[in-house]
Amino acid sequence: MTAPAAAYGKALDLITRVRGVRGAMLVSAEDGIVVAEQLMEGIKGPAVSALAASVATRLRRAMEAAGVGASLFWHLQAEHGALLVVPTPGGTLVVAVAEPDVNVGLVRLELLRAAEVVG
């Protein structure tokens, strides 16, 4: 059973409180549509959601082919920022947009916690 929408805000709150996180979102993995978001100004939610879902789909296929199983967490690193994502069993992606030097371990923990709430 998935959580009510009010719980999503709380789950995203915990992620965005981590220093270096510029935004957090829940994204429908199948169609790349925003389910819920808390983003700093300047971050384009629909773009993040569509592109994160697209990377997630391609990565899932590559990882299955490589025999490492379904993805539990992934971290796309770039010069000026990062995307950190945890897929949930229910087909949602919990996404954080962050600075490049963010504490990855901490963000990962909060993403996993949020994923438990979302279901």
């Binding site: 199983g69 770039a78 010069e79």
Partner: protein, 268 residues
């Protein structure tokens, strides 16, 4: 020595957080009881992950067990925590010396000498590295060398099944190979998917204004992967089972990318 091991074991059992594991692990290593030493070191590291001496101990044990790749990682980790750690500098120098990179070996030994100018072992090793005469062999850390990570990466690029794959921008395999846990060759299938992953990753960071992408690390149920672009038109994949932490995988991937870059330049 046996009495000391017994005493230290007892102390460690009474106080598992105690640092006596460092001395105990070293004594066990010297006695050749590598598996027991390994367990002591790993347990100690779990409790003291930021202690450079713990990483140094573990690295020495791994080197004795001929696991040079992981020994390299552990000494590297020790240096990240404590850049002047003499044991780590000596250890890395030894590994570089073993693969014939005398320049790197000498550089690490010189750094060790700056920190510990009175260490005779460092001075001897430096003399040998500089070819200055028949000094005694440096304190042996491990017997006959196997190629360590950098050389193995090249070997991987020449086709060894190392969980390492180098692709061009179109997804064609340049070197390395992959097998799934069932032992099936999945190189081509993975290569085809990876090209799409890297293109999408590049597009994503570009459209989101995040600059150039530098890596993609993923944790799976059965293993971890790390993707990196060693050059603008190549892609490197490193795959390891879940026993290898993602942080270590990132370090392995960095070095593999460096070796891949050199290989690409050499074969351009």
């Amino acid at each position: 020595m046996a009495d000391e091991i017994k005493t230290l074991s007892s102390q460690l059992a009474q106080d598992p957080d105690s640092l006596v594991f460092l001395r105990l692990g070293e004594l066990l290593r010297q006695k050749g009881q590598l598996d027991t030493a390994h367990r002591v070191a790993v347990t100690g590291l779990e409790r003291h992950p930021h202690l450079p001496d713990a990483h140094d101990l573990y690295a020495r044990i791994l080197a004795d067990k001929h696991d040079y790749e992981r020994a390299f990682d552990e000494w590297d980790m020790a240096l990240r925590i404590a850049p002047d750690h003499v044991g780590a500098l000596k250890g890395l120098a030894f590994l570089y010396f073993k693969v014939g990179d005398v320049q790197q070996a000498a550089a690490h030994l010189e750094a060790a000498q700056r920190v510990a100018p009175d260490d005779p072992g460092v001075a001897q090793a430096l003399a040998i590295a500089r070819g200055e005469g028949a000094a005694a062999e440096p304190e042996p850390i491990a017997p006959a060398a196997q190629p360590i990570e950098e050389a193995r990466v090249f070997a991987g690029l020449e086709g060894a099944q190392e969980g390492l794959l180098l692709l061009d921008a179109s997804g064609r395999v340049l070197g390395g190979a992959l097998k799934d846990p069932a032992g099936r060759d999945v190189t081509e299938a993975v290569a085809a998917y990876l090209a799409g992953v890297s293109q999408e990753a590049a597009r994503t960071v570009k459209l989101l204004g995040l600059g150039k992408w530098t890596g993609l690390a993923a944790e799976g149920h059965l293993g971890h992967v790390h993707l990196a672009p060693p050059s603008s038109d190549a892609l490197l994949l490193v795959v390891r089972d879940r026993a290898v932490p993602m942080g270590r995988l990132a370090i392995i991937a960095q070095r593999a990318a460096l070796a891949a870059r050199r290989w690409l330049e050499a074969h351009a």
